[in-house]
């Protein structure tokens, strides 16, 4: 899975516009996501970063009235091209949500179910163990795999959701403020995990927490609310550069906390 060529673009949005009915929620976004990198999407509330994230695996299809214009290229294919099956995309581009949302099943079944719907034919026990190991959860749950997922703490539940997403071996993992509902210690565990996952998957993470973006990401994209409340991409660069020497004054003002 590791790329041999240093920087290879895996996901690329081109002139991407998202509409909710008439409302242009995200406007003209062009961005390239490098393989096996962690890209943080930051910006004030309502700037469309979550909406944009949900376009990258067509989760926006599920929202009534949402429509997308422009292209999202993934492995050379336009996700919004005519004959693309959204369910197939979502098993290649997984997603982790703001609030941990394990299924009301056992810990084991939470992971096995995703494998099953994707037609997995191999050894389930091994696959479940591998996924839980990747999400740094195996040691904590190996003795109680058949317990309900709701018996886990919030942070453990979120790591289970990450394990569940990793089990189907996606190329990209989208994370929508994955730690915002967790306490600081659980947040730290998730951040450590994200950094380790980079070897397996490409990660795009939306976060409200700028320190978090600075801590975990390689690249940062800064979104803003523009005219008519449309969100747009202001600047996208190496995280180090964004946080030390951004080229746009709006970015600098946001980073230094002059508005939020």
């Amino acid at each position: 899975m590791t790329s041999e060529i240093g920087q290879q673009v895996i996901l690329s949005a081109q002139k991407l516009n998202v509409y909710y009915g008439e409302f242009n929620a995200v406007k003209d976004v062009d961005i390239d996501i490098n393989q096996n990198s962690i890209t943080a999407l930051i910006g004030p509330s309502g700037c469309g970063k979550s909406t944009f994230l949900r376009c990258l695996n067509r989760m926006n299809d599920l929202i009534v009235g949402a429509s997308v214009q422009g292209k999202v290229m993934f492995e050379g294919v336009d996700l919004y091209g005519g004959e693309i099956d959204a369910t197939e995309i979502r098993s290649r581009i997984g997603m982790v949500f703001q609030k941990p949302n394990p299924f009301p099943k056992s810990i084991y079944q939470n992971i096995a179910w995703g494998l099953k719907v994707n037609g997995f034919k191999g050894n389930y026990d091994e696959a479940v163990e591998r996924a839980l190991n990747q999400a740094a959860l195996w040691d904590e749950v190996k003795d109680r795999l058949n317990n309900s997922a709701f018996t886990l703490s919030g942070g453990q539940q979120q790591r289970l959701c990450i394990a569940r997403a990793l089990a189907v071996e996606p190329a990209v993992l989208l994370m929508d403020e994955p730690a915002s509902a967790l306490d600081p210690i659980a947040t730290l565990a998730i951040e450590e995990l994200i950094k380790q996952l980079k070897d397996h998957v490409t990660i795009v993470i939306v976060t409200h927490n700028m320190q978090q973006a600075a801590r975990v990401s390689d690249e940062t994209a800064f979104f803003m609310v523009g005219e008519n409340r449309s969100g747009y991409l202001v600047e996208h660069d190496d995280t180090q550069k964004i946080f030390s020497n951004p080229s746009n004054t709006r970015t600098e003002e946001y980073i230094t906390g002059r508005f939020s």
């Binding site: 979502r90 949500f97 099953k116 719907v117 709701f150 569940r164 997403a165 189907v168």
Partner: protein, 299 residues
């Protein structure tokens, strides 16, 4: 209680306490009307019916002589009817609820269906009885061998009656499944049917079961629509197949009550006891299922 202040505040505690007590007693009495009514009903039925309760009463067929009369045919008719009504209603009701909640586009057509289903749940049961009589018994049923006044025709009629209730209860149960489950499932590459089958339905089934059982226990007590279909009170056999004729408990009870001899009134009371036991045990199952699954989802 002497008031020695000169301002205009007057707590007037005595009259407030009196009003408070009056209101309390009034509310308590309102509750008691219901409870006392139920207790009187149960005592009346038990004193009238218990002397007639016996195994022979349950396992014998009706008779002109009160001492020999039983309600076996009516009891088995009710069991048959419930079983077949559930067999028809549950699949159709659950599928309709899934369609309305998960598949139906939000448009005028869907709205009209939804309003219709809600209104149908309030239609008087005799109307369904007459519809069943003209549609299933006379129009579709051409002879006694085919449909006619059979258990199946009765079950189809009762299904019309309880279907809206089952649909409404199932929709509510499906709507109560958190959307985050659906999102999580879709995000793993599941398609719509996999999401419904694997995540939505397992969470909704306790609610669907409870609603269905309660709907069935309503159907048990319905006499009007079944009288229209069955019209039989004196039956000395139990249905052996869906096309057989049948009678049910409410009809048998109604018939006994309307006899001139006092003994039959005792039999009617005993019949009511049997029906109440059946009804209360079904409700108990519904409550048990709800509590069991509630606890599990709170873990």
């Amino acid at each position: 209680m002497s008031s020695n202040s000169h301002n205009s505040i007057n707590p007037n505690r005595r009259s407030r306490v009196i009003i408070g007590n009056i209101v309390y007693v009034l509310f308590l009495l309102s509750v008691l009307v219901g409870i006392v009514g139920l207790i009187v009903l149960i005592i009346d039925v038990l004193t009238g019916g218990l002397p007639w309760m016996s195994w022979h009463f349950i396992f014998d067929y009706p008779s002109r002589k009160p001492a020999e009369a039983g309600l076996f045919s009516a009891l088995m008719g009710t069991v048959w009817l419930m079983f077949m009504t559930a067999l028809i209603t549950v699949p159709i009701g659950v599928c309709a609820a899934i369609y309305l909640e998960e598949y139906a586009p939000r448009n005028l057509f869907t709205r009209i269906i939804e309003i219709n289903v809600a209104n149908l749940a309030g239609v008087p049961s005799i109307v369904y009885g007459l519809l069943g009589l003209s549609l299933f018994v006379y129009y579709i049923g051409t002879s006694d061998e085919f449909l006619g006044r059979s258990v199946l025709a009765g079950a189809m009629t009762l299904s019309l009656l309880v279907l809206p209730i089952v649909i409404l209860a199932s929709r509510e149960a499906i709507r109560a499944v958190p959307n985050s489950y659906r999102e999580g499932a879709y995000a793993m590459g599941a398609d719509q049917w996999q999401v419904i089958k694997g995540v939505v339905l397992p969470s909704a089934i306790p609610g669907i079961l409870t609603g269905t059982i309660l709907a069935m226990s309503r159907a048990i007590g319905e006499a009007a629509p079944v009288i229209a279909i069955s019209a039989l009170v004196y039956l000395t056999f139990i249905p052996s197949h869906p096309m057989d004729r049948f009678t049910v408990l409410p009809i048998q009870i109604y018939n006994w009550v309307s006899r001139p001899q006092d003994e039959f009134r005792g039999l009617a009371a005993a019949g009511i006891i049997v029906m109440l036991v059946l009804l209360l045990s079904m409700n108990a199952i519904a409550v048990f299922l709800r509590n069991k699954y509630q606890k599990r989802s709170e873990e």
